[in-house]
Symmetry: C2
Subunit: 130 residues, 2 copies
């Protein structure tokens, strides 16, 4: 447990929303200028392997990191509106049946929370009417 790791975990615990590696890197830079971006990336990778954090792929590959097992973690899925970019939380059980079906059919073990779903949120749906 090094300083950098403590700081990264702290940032994950503190920062709300769905911070990307770059977001975290930026936040950390403010309070701990000494900690290099590369270290943040490497630390996130290490912590992921250790099972302490996980990430969700939102749009365009910007993965959002979060602590595992934290109070606010309570397994949930994400839906990304590709119009306004907002992220909506969905119940973690939403895909249970789908996962079950995929498991039976092709033996694929779904990790539903690892990729966001996407589409249009209510607000953008109404705006988009041509």
């Amino acid at each position: 447990m090094t300083t950098a790791r403590r700081v990264v975990i702290e940032a994950l615990a503190t920062q709300g929303g769905h911070p990307t590696a770059e977001d975290l890197s930026a936040t950390i830079a403010q309070h701990h200028p000494g900690i290099h971006r590369a270290t943040v990336y490497r630390t996130l990778e290490t912590l992921t392997e250790m099972g302490v954090v996980a990430h969700v792929h939102l749009g365009h590959g910007a993965a959002a990191y979060h602590l595992l097992g934290s109070p606010q973690d309570v397994a949930h899925l994400h839906a990304l509106c590709h119009q306004c970019g907002r992220v909506f939380d969905l119940p973690g059980s939403l895909m249970d049946e789908v996962a079950e079906r995929v498991r039976e059919e092709i033996g694929f073990e779904l990790e539903a929370s690892h990729h966001a779903l996407s589409g249009l949120c209510r607000a953008c749906t109404s705006t988009t009417v041509p």
Copy 2:
């Protein structure tokens, strides 16, 4: 309809698998060295706006492009194994119920095929047993 667009569409029709913009760019470079990478990217964007092609976000942000309405397009979803990286096709209707539920609950219009699902494929599940 310009040369570049014809070539991009041709590449999409020809190239199997789930080519990324970079993949397409590379393929095209072999047969049509004149066509610049930037043009491929721009063309893909344009064709997307025109509704001719679409892309799926697989892992790490590398979007896979495909022609819309092509015979082999028949609406389907993708599941990405994050161990071996292979992409599996799933029936397009798989998420219908989920979409319905999300629509009712938060008014979110899901586009299930726009992001891949992810998890472990059968082969990797068995290999991973520690």
